[in-house]
Amino acid sequence: MTFNSLLTATGKTVKENEDTIKDLRVDLIIDGISRLSREPIGDILFDRLTKKKDILYRQKILKDIQKPEFLKILKKFSQNFEKVKNYIELSSKSSFEITLKGWHLEAALNYINSLEEFYSAVSNLKIESEGFNEFKDFLKSYIASNEFKTLKEEAIFTKNQLNEIKAIVNIKENKIYVNNFNNEKRLDNDIKKALSKLVYYEVEKLDFEIIESHILSNVEEKILELIKKLNYEPFTALSDFYKKHRDFIEKTVEQFYKEIQFFLTFLEYIEPIKKMGLSFCFPEIAEGNGEVYFKDSFDLALAKQQSEKGKRIITNDLHVNKGEKILLVTGPNQGGKTTFARMFGQLFYFATLGLMIPGVEAKLFVCDHIYTHFEKEEKVQSKKGKLEDELARAKAILDKATDKSIIVLNEIFSATALEDAYFLAEFLIKKIVNIGAIAVFVTFMHKLYRVDNSIIPLTSNVETENPAIRTFKITRRETKGRSFAIYLAEKYRLTYDCLKERLKDES
């Protein structure tokens, strides 16, 4: 069994058009994830999977990674390997020979260590996914290979030789003497012992900011040259090692490192959101369009933005039964309608990247495309021009959509005369119902629910009790009245019941 890839079993993918990516704010999310990544992974995030098999392949990988123990191991490996790459770069940039070979040796030592550490950590770990198991097998034979063994022996031998060097340096005005160490008496311990009798107070410790440039000064270089003269053998070993093992990184290992970044970065991206108390789940994936549901889901872009301010956003649930097609979202403005529509599209997008999606549980299907139709604000046009553009975009969607498509329509026809708008919307809805696609329709035309019985009417509500929270549920709610003073006391959690709880906690 050879290792192919963690990303896909078949390699079939599809891209969405620019409008969809922008309208759903997927661009913001991808940008945010990419910025966290050690390796460029943007491409992977634009390629949606079209086969259930591939989605499950990635889900399994991610499920493995989700195990805290394995995640820790992978993160550690990833950090170590990044260091290796970093050291190699430093080596290639060095102009001083001793340093150039020094960084190269450190890179090799870290490489060896990171692989061995990784392998020993995973060797007894139960891993479910095909992808990881293949890599594990590969690693086992690689570590046992002569190539790796020689690399390791020689790196350690060289490092040990260098470690044993100890020199004494004496600076007298502008003269520097260098010689091998000869047991000169150390001065610091006596000073420490005497002074410690006076240190009875915690004082601010000095921290000298020594900016350590990777470029050595001419003086340090000269001292090193002299130490090299005094220590022929270790430095010969260093040169030999460099010559023999210039490019020591195995290609498969490097590929593996790059591919796990995709998963690790995604997890890193959602971590602060989870800290806010929001959940992510692996959606159940159906082949075809049927029942769809999600629970406690949310707009990922908005959740990310709010989590940076330490805020958590409100979640939404919905169960779309078989036969229901159109989610008609109406209600007051600023009530979270557009956010809901974006979330719906995002759920399908990220589910078909094989990733986890916002929510505690969900069932979705493999969609062929996600189409969006959002009001375009940037272009100032005549009413006629605007309607024409809207209709053209709508037609383009209807021409391409199938019963496996997702369509998100946001405030379409809002600038059109009401009578026309109803007429056009009705037409649009009937057409979509005919095609069999699933659509979210955000609109002010609340009477549209009468058009077809596959429509689910949904309503946004402005949050009244706590206006500080600016993201809202798509659900009805009631408010209850009570005396102002007691309401205020309750707000500060100072009623008897509240205090009983609080004082219990705090005593």
Partner: protein, 490 residues
């Protein structure tokens, strides 16, 4: 060597004086007391404030401080001498302009060695003062004297001086080094400087090498001093830490002696004004207070009239103070708050005898007169302040409330207060509550562990400014009349 004149085993923490602390100081009039004690000195003022807002909660802590207060009353000269010495040290630090100007290890080391030489002289002076301290009975002072004698021996001073001499590096420095990460020089260890001749001997004997930096090679000299700095980092840190620690000792000595000088001053002021004070006794039961002739210390500074003292006996979680306006309810509440605060600061208290339990902390919740906001805003503010108190309150705390929740109507105010007081009582939190809300006072009339104090009005309707045990009286005449007419019906 530590000062430890405020606590046996720690320094006074400087906490942030937040809203709760500011309220406590203002509501009780403690800021007036502090001003007088400190004689206008900012440092004293800060220290006294900090001491007062951080009440001691352990018996041994209180006793430890009471003993030192007694020494200060008997032997203020010693405190003044120590304070003066500490002040001299701080002044000399300010004068040594070059100390810590240089941010590099070699520079820091050089200036700290100089500073250390100065400090040794001051330590010797400290030793001299403490060799003849005069009247001392407290554990705190005795420990300080003993430790000074033990640490600052002649041998040790000599050894220090000798080390400082070695550390005066001029142009010669010797160190060992190893080949570290990515072949950088690392693990610098300072080694003993050899006599001039012998260095050359060592380095010419075997195959040592050397090189010379050209006089015009500026980068070379810079690099050289960078290497020296790296070698000296640890030593520079060490000497700096020792110097800072000694300076800290004198800073704390100044702060803590300033406190006792202020306490002594207060004691004198009380005597001069013809009032009295006593050292409190600690009562181990909770709640339990027996106080005689307690008076409002802050009032002493602002009134020329004779202050009427009060007695208090209390074993209850809630004490309501009710009765006529301008009758001394707030003054009484304040006198208790000030005395309890002083008690838990280890001080004497303004009373003839004072026997009290220790509270875990002390809060005030006073109606704010100056608040001219809308009514709803006021209640909001009152609740907010109470919320802050609840966040910090623990069982056995003391909360002094003065007309709390009077900013809304009596019905709602009483409702809120009743709920809060009930929860406090159930959680062993002690409350003194000055109120004119009969509905509130009446709500607890049948409860256990609730005490009522009423301001006394004599037969002529004149206020005597005494508070006495009693029962709340309704101010609504209609009901009075009803009960009068229908007496015996209920």
């Amino acid at each position: 060597m530590r000062v430890n004149l405020l606590y046996k085993d720690k320094n006074l923490k400087k906490i942030e004086i937040g809203e709760l602390e500011r309220n406590l100081l203002q509501d009780l009039g403690l800021d007036i007391v502090i001003n007088s004690m400190s004689n206008g000195e900012e440092l004293s003022k800060e220290i006294i404030t900090q001491v007062l807002v951080q009440p001691l909660t352990e018996e041994n802590e209180i006793v430890y401080r009471q003993e030192i207060v007694q020494d200060a009353i008997e032997n203020i000269d010693l405190f003044k001498k120590l304070n003066k010495l500490a002040d001299d040290v701080i002044e000399s630090k300010k004068k040594s302009l070059f100390w810590m100007m240089n941010k590099k290890p070699s520079g820091v080391l050089f200036s700290n060695v100089r500073m250390m030489e100065t400090l040794i002289e001051y330590l010797l002076e400290l030793k001299k003062i403490l060799e003849n301290p005069g009247y001392v009975t407290s554990e705190g002072l005795k420990t300080l004297i003993e430790n000074t004698r033990k640490i600052l021996t002649q041998d040790y001073i000599d050894q220090l001086k000798q080390l400082l001499k070695i550390l005066e590096f001029k142009e010669i420095i010797t160190f060992s080094t190893k080949i570290g990460h990515a072949n950088r020089l690392s693990e610098f260890v300072l080694r003993l400087k050899e006599e001039k001749g012998s260095i050359l001997k060592i380095f010419s004997k075997d195959k040592g090498y050397s090189f010379v930096i050209d006089e015009r090679d500026e980068a070379g000299f810079r690099a050289l001093s960078e290497i020296k700095d790296k070698v000296l980092i640890d030593i520079a840190k060490l000497v700096h830490e020792a110097v800072s620690s000694i300076l800290r000792f004198f800073e704390i000595l100044k702060e803590e002696t300033s406190f006792y000088i202020a306490v002594h001053h207060l004691h004198e002021t009380i005597k001069d004004k013809g009032y009295w004070s006593c050292f409190p006794k600690i009562n181990k039961f909770f709640p339990n207070r027996v106080i005689k002739d307690l008076y409002d210390l802050s009032l002493m500074f602002v009134t020329k009239e004779k202050i009427i003292p009060n007695n208090l006996q209390e074993k209850d979680f809630i004490t309501f103070i009710v009765g006529a306006n301008q009758g001394g309810k707030t003054t009484f509440l304040r006198s208790l708050g000030i005395a309890q605060t002083m008690f838990q600061a280890g001080l004497f208290v303004p009373a003839k005898s004072f026997d009290s339990h220790i509270n875990s902390s002390l809060f005030t919740h006073f109606k704010k007169e100056e608040d001219v906001n809308l009514e709803s805003g006021k209640l909001d503010d009152e609740l907010k302040r109470m919320d802050e108190i609840v966040k910090r309150v623990r069982p056995q705390a003391l909360i002094l409330q003065n007309e709390s929740f009077a900013s809304t109507n009596e019905q709602e105010g009483s409702e809120i207060a009743t709920q809060i007081l009930t929860a406090f009582k159930e959680n062993s939190i002690e409350t003194f509550y000055v109120t004119h809300m009969y509905t509130l006072a009446k709500a607890f009339i049948d409860s256990q562990n609730v005490n009522y104090l009423v301001v006394e009005v004599d037969d002529n309707g004149k206020r005597t400014f005494k508070v006495k045990p009693g029962k709340p009286q309704s101010t609504s005449f209609g009901k009075d009349l009803f009960y009068k007419v229908f007496d015996g019906v209920t």
